[in-house]
């Protein structure tokens, strides 16, 4: 009886010992020097201006990422892309990476379409967010959750 309790306690203790440092590392591991959290990144981009969820912004990401190191992201924004009405910038962010920013893409009417695609790293299951600035100064937003089984940052 005592032996069983003793063995049980060892198993629990070693389980904790194994998980705790790696969760700490996972949190620390994601922060680099110029890392901005999601909220700080949104503030840096919008200066606090209102952001509206819009279905003019179509965000295409996989539901489940096979590999968190290479997650394809496509952003399509409905826009005539004329000199007076065009997509000024597409910002791709992640909600939980230590550095929430992935790319800021400044477009011009010569692009012809409000479109940008890339591949990003996701450290864990989280949202990919497309923050779009239109030429009239308004901000639109679309977000989608991506399940990540193998984290992409280390």
């Amino acid at each position: 009886m005592k032996r069983r309790i003793f063995l049980k306690s060892i198993c629990t203790v070693s389980a904790i010992a194994v998980t705790a440092p790696s969760t700490l590392l996972a949190k620390e591991a994601m922060k680099g020097e110029n890392a901005l959290s999601y909220d700080a990144a949104v503030m840096a981009i919008t200066s606090g201006k209102a952001v509206t969820a819009s279905d003019k912004v179509k965000l295409v990401v996989p539901e489940i990422a096979e590999n968190g190191a290479v997650v394809p992201v496509k952003v399509h924004v409905e826009s005539p892309m004329t000199d007076t009405d065009y997509v000024k910038a597409i910002h791709v962010l992640s909600s939980k990476n230590g550095n929430a920013r992935c790319a800021d893409v400044m477009l011009t009417p010569l692009n012809g379409k409000g479109y940008f695609a890339t591949r990003v790293k996701l450290g864990a299951t989280q949202d990919v967010v497309a923050l779009v600035e239109m030429s009239d100064g308004t901000f639109l937003r679309a977000a989608k959750s991506v399940k990540v089984t193998i984290g992409g940052c280390g």
Partner: protein
């Protein structure tokens, strides 16, 4: 000194006319190191080394500029559109956080 990097510009579709809007894909061999991973051989942290600025130009005039972070995948891929108004040359210039600068060009040759 910066070593020349392998990169590629692709137009999609390959055949297009004046007035078409094509995709311009750019892919470059670059580690995009976050500065958070250890080198498996040495055990040392690999310093952050990632492309941070990209400019797409047509005949010297920028039509897309990008600010990019270490959160973009290794050997990054970028894609934007371009309205074809005539013959020209597309140039992609990029620099990374170490100050290394490179560029790649491709001639834009619409049919008709």
């Amino acid at each position: 000194m910066a070593e020349a990097r392998k990169s590629m510009i692709k137009f999609k579709p390959k055949k297009f006319k004046v007035g078409d809007t094509i995709k311009v894909d750019f892919i470059v061999i670059h580690p995009m190191d976050t500065g958070l991973k250890k080198d498996k051989k040495t055990g040392e942290i690999k310093p952050a080394h990632f492309i941070d600025t990209i400019t797409f130009s047509l005949d010297g005039k920028p039509f897309t500029t990008m600010k990019v972070w270490e959160t973009v995948s290794t050997n990054p891929y970028f894609s934007v559109n371009l309205k074809v108004l005539g013959k020209g040359k597309v140039t992609v210039e990029y620099s990374d956080n170490t100050g290394e600068k490179n560029s790649k060009s491709k001639k834009l040759k619409p049919k008709g």
